[in-house]
Amino acid sequence: MPPGPDQLLQMYAGMLRVRLVEERVRELFANGRIPGFLHTSVGQEAVAVGVCAALRPDDYVLSTHRGHGHLVAKGGALRGLMAELYGKANGVCHGKGGTMHLADASVGYLGANGVLAAGCVLAPGVGLSIKHRKSGQVVVTFFGDGAANRGPFHEGVNLAALWTLPVVFVCENNRWASSTAHALSTAGGSIAARAAGYGIPGESLDGNDVLAVWEATARAVERARRGDGPSLIEAHTIRWVGHFEGDGQAYRGKAEVEEGRRTDPIARLARGLEERGLLDAAHAALIREGVVAEIEDAVAHAEASPLPAPHDALTDLFAYYPWRD
């Protein structure tokens, strides 16, 4: 069943939310409000939103170093996210995680990850637990085109396929692993094509088309819930910004970013919605206002929040505190 008008508008608002959060975060970082090694997903919103729109609230997501968008798309509260990015005590991880190690278990977001492809082997375990609990959930693990070359991709896909676990492997192929071009890291060129070797479906698609992402994910999720096992989706997209904030991007010309802006997933969906009469300028402005207000609320919340007490560095190691060592 294709997404209805409400769902389409939600995807639109969802992508806008991711975009504006990321842009705000970049600005805050530039202004020295946010510390850390920051990787944002500006331009790649359709993947996060298309995938998460096809999920139930109780489904799980395993994310990456470029994970803010996945958390927002999965429904994570912006206040908790923003306070965490600020390193504040009431951040969703109490300031211990930050940009690269976010987690929000309340929405099934089981963690950004500073180690590439780490989620690929965590995912089958989540799938196993789902199967064991007969909960009908699904777990999605995101990873980049670069990360796909690590061993855990192979081990995780094989295990999930072997045990027909409810896992969806989603590769966000943004053409680059930091400064290294996709073609210079991936023999054969296609990550989706590797699925065949494990006897599972592999699909390569336009990751700037949120509907295509949604559709493929919905299929993969249905398959997983049916008990037919994992799928692999390779979503081609474009990162408009540097690999990390501060990246000089000497490795690529402007053409790619221009191509990205031309194929902007948000503008694209907006056009589609306008054509179908589901969105007009006034409505779009309203949506934007709402998103901006939400973000500014989160920023104000984060700004006003206290930093953790230094000695709180000692909490949260083990279930019981104070712990013995």
């Binding site: 951040g91 180690v115 780490a118 082997v121 375990g125 196993l128 081990e155 094989n158 949260d316």
Partner: protein, 323 residues
């Protein structure tokens, strides 16, 4: 009390915990048949293939998936086959499992047990004989235990499984067929409780796993000369029962630390520091250490014998500590 061997005591612990808690499952390579050391033998008959999982040879996926399961409601017990192969899942242990609760600000539990068969013996050679526990005490977020007797093995493994945090259990493979009394009743051994395996007033030997037995043997020999050795087994390295260690050292003023792994950067060096920090003024002599030389484990029996610390080495170290 019934006599059980170390391997069967571990098997009993697994059975008891799997009966108690349906979330507990075992995963590893060839564990359905109980390979390689018989610890999981027969579990398949009682608990079935949903809870006793033979995995492909994919250590990263075995360990990583255990974390994925642990943070979403299951209680995995991973059989590492040989502790040597934890190198193949090191990121999963060191960066994922150890840090999950902390980095996520306490949002999740990660109740996961890694069973680590380790140690020298029978010409296993360089890839099947290593003592690697020192790496893991240096990784905050992991608990580490290292039993020496069947009763401790059962009690610690049960505690490990019930712990809401990740616990590594180092099982010396030379001990699997060693027997000992194991209480009829279900008995837990808390983490962080050292055990005085033999009381004595002249010198404290702090020893782990197989070296506890070598130290007891050394103590018997030295007793014939009237030297009374106290053998203290920390049983868990994280958390560490510093009080019991310190109490013994205060009593004897002389200390030997005995382990099997290589001397440099080892748990023994750490324990030496702990003793020194707690008891510097109580020490009447330098701490003496027994450990392997800083080489990989060789294959040939005389070479393997040379790098394997034994009761002889403990006797020599005690004499040195008594000088």
């Amino acid at each position: 009390m019934p006599l059980l061997d170390f391997g069967d005591a571990l098997n009993l612990a697994l059975r008891e915990e799997m009966r108690r808690d349906p979330r507990v499952y075992c995963i590893g390579e060839d564990i359905v048949l109980g390979l390689p050391f018989g610890v999981t033998k027969g579990l398949i008959d009682e608990f079935g293939a949903d809870r006793v999982l033979n995995a492909p040879i994919s250590e990263a996926a075995i360990v990583g998936s255990a974390m994925g399961a642990a943070v979403t409601g299951l209680v995995p017990v991973v059989d590492m086959h040989f502790a040597d192969f934890v190198t193949c899942a090191m990121d999963e242990v060191a960066n994922q499992i150890a840090k999950s609760r902390y980095m996520f600000g306490g949002q999740i539990d990660c109740p996961l047990t890694l069973r680590m068969p380790y140690g020298i013996g029978k010409s296993g050679g360089g890839h099947h004989s290593n003592s690697v526990e020192a790496w893991f005490i240096n990784i905050p977020g992991l608990k580490v235990c290292i039993p020496s007797t069947p009763a401790d093995a059962r009690g610690l493994l049960k505690t490990a499984i019930r712990d809401p945090d990740p616990v590594l259990v180092f099982e010396h493979r030379g001990l699997y067929r060693v027997t000992g009394e194991v209480p009829e009743a279900e008995t837990l051994v808390p983490l962080g409780s050292a055990d005085v395996k033999r009381a004595g007033g002249d010198v404290t030997v702090i020893a782990t796993a197989r070296m506890v037995h070598e130290s007891l043997e050394a103590a018997r020999r030295l007793a014939e000369e009237g030297i009374e050795v106290e053998v203290v087994d920390p049983r868990s390295l994280v958390p560490l029962d510093r009080d019991t260690l310190a109490a013994s050292v205060r009593k004897t003023s002389r200390v030997v630390i005995a382990e099997e792994g290589p001397m440099r950067g080892s748990t023994g060096a750490w324990l030496a520091w702990v003793v020194m920090e707690a008891c510097f003024d109580d020490l009447d002599a330098p701490i003496a250490r027994v450990a392997g030389p800083n080489v990989p484990i060789p294959f040939s029996p005389p070479l393997e014998g040379f790098v394997t610390p034994t009761a002889n080495d403990v006797v020599a170290a005690v004499r040195q500590a008594l000088k």
